[in-house]
Symmetry: C2
Subunit: 208 residues, 2 copies
Amino acid sequence: MTLVYEKDGAAIYRRSFSIIRAEADLARFSPEEEKVAVRVIHASGMVEVAADLVFSPGAAAAARAALRAGAPIFCDAQMVAHGVTRARLPADNDVICTLSDPAVPLLADKLGTTRTAAAMELWRDRLGGAVVAIGNAPTALFRLLEMLDEGAEKPAAVIGMPVGFVGAAESKEALIADGRVPAMIVRGRKGGSAMTAAAVNALASDRE
Amino acid sequence: MTLVYEKDGAAIYRRSFSIIRAEADLARFSPEEEKVAVRVIHASGMVEVAADLVFSPGAAAAARAALRAGAPIFCDAQMVAHGVTRARLPADNDVICTLSDPAVPLLADKLGTTRTAAAMELWRDRLGGAVVAIGNAPTALFRLLEMLDEGAEKPAAVIGMPVGFVGAAESKEALIADGRVPAMIVRGRKGGSAMTAAAVNALASDRE
């Protein structure tokens, strides 16, 4: 049996994006938001996720500008960090996940929270103007709001797309309602590291 | 404002799995399959994905036995490899992604295929009895079937869950229809590295 299938990576991308634009309802998005929506849909296989995307005003533009200016990208999970396509980054931006830092388990005990939330303490010095990409842990989004309460400097933009059944929907609604930081979310339980990294990749470059 | 949210990672897991078992229709699965279904749902935030899961007979049991016997886990994407929880692996199994190997770009040109499919050439020597976890590229699943045609040794089981709009659904149906290797898939466009790694994590340990 000979299998016949598309083997050209660039052609696969082009055809995928063309199917997404034909099927998804993207009319309400700005051009910058639309590119995020297309890549998030691409990463999830679900055109219907477009309806769950919420951008605070100017969030996509703020994230793009920050990345062009060299902002670091702080990720809550190694999967998010490894989903960021380095060749798309406009300023060889640092992509940082501190979850495996040896200080984290003790810090989590001390703070009485998850390791993911505790790992964010190690972001504090460079948080001002950074791009934050949360794709796994709702506790990370909640903790970010607490850090802002404590006086941490504001990131340029937050991609808040944790997935799951306990706290995910609530943490994303809290981020958007909070309003202190430009943010983009996927409403509800859906989300995850692939959608989050896809949003970063969309914001990183004008190239499709 | 004080945010009130669950900060105990173990409690978040327990409550998540309890919600999933209350909401999802898991009756048709064997106990081994059910654990895979629960973790795939957990990783995606979608109880409805249970309906799209297909296991070939004995595939979940074959994957579990192979992992316990020390089989390596070959992953098509770094995100899949980084989603595998090393502490759950029963035999300190190797988790291998060859996509970044310096030989791959030239190999892809020579074979006229994607880098992901080309990277699988570097699995060939250890493919017999391995667990294969494909979460990103449909071309990798198609290429695996071609490698079997060419006489490559059979893996113990294949987790075939690439996501997307071009070839993903077709590659998964081809894998299940082929029947030479025990396999588990998510039908249709849905899938991805998080679901794939979640399936590996479910198969790796009896612990929830």
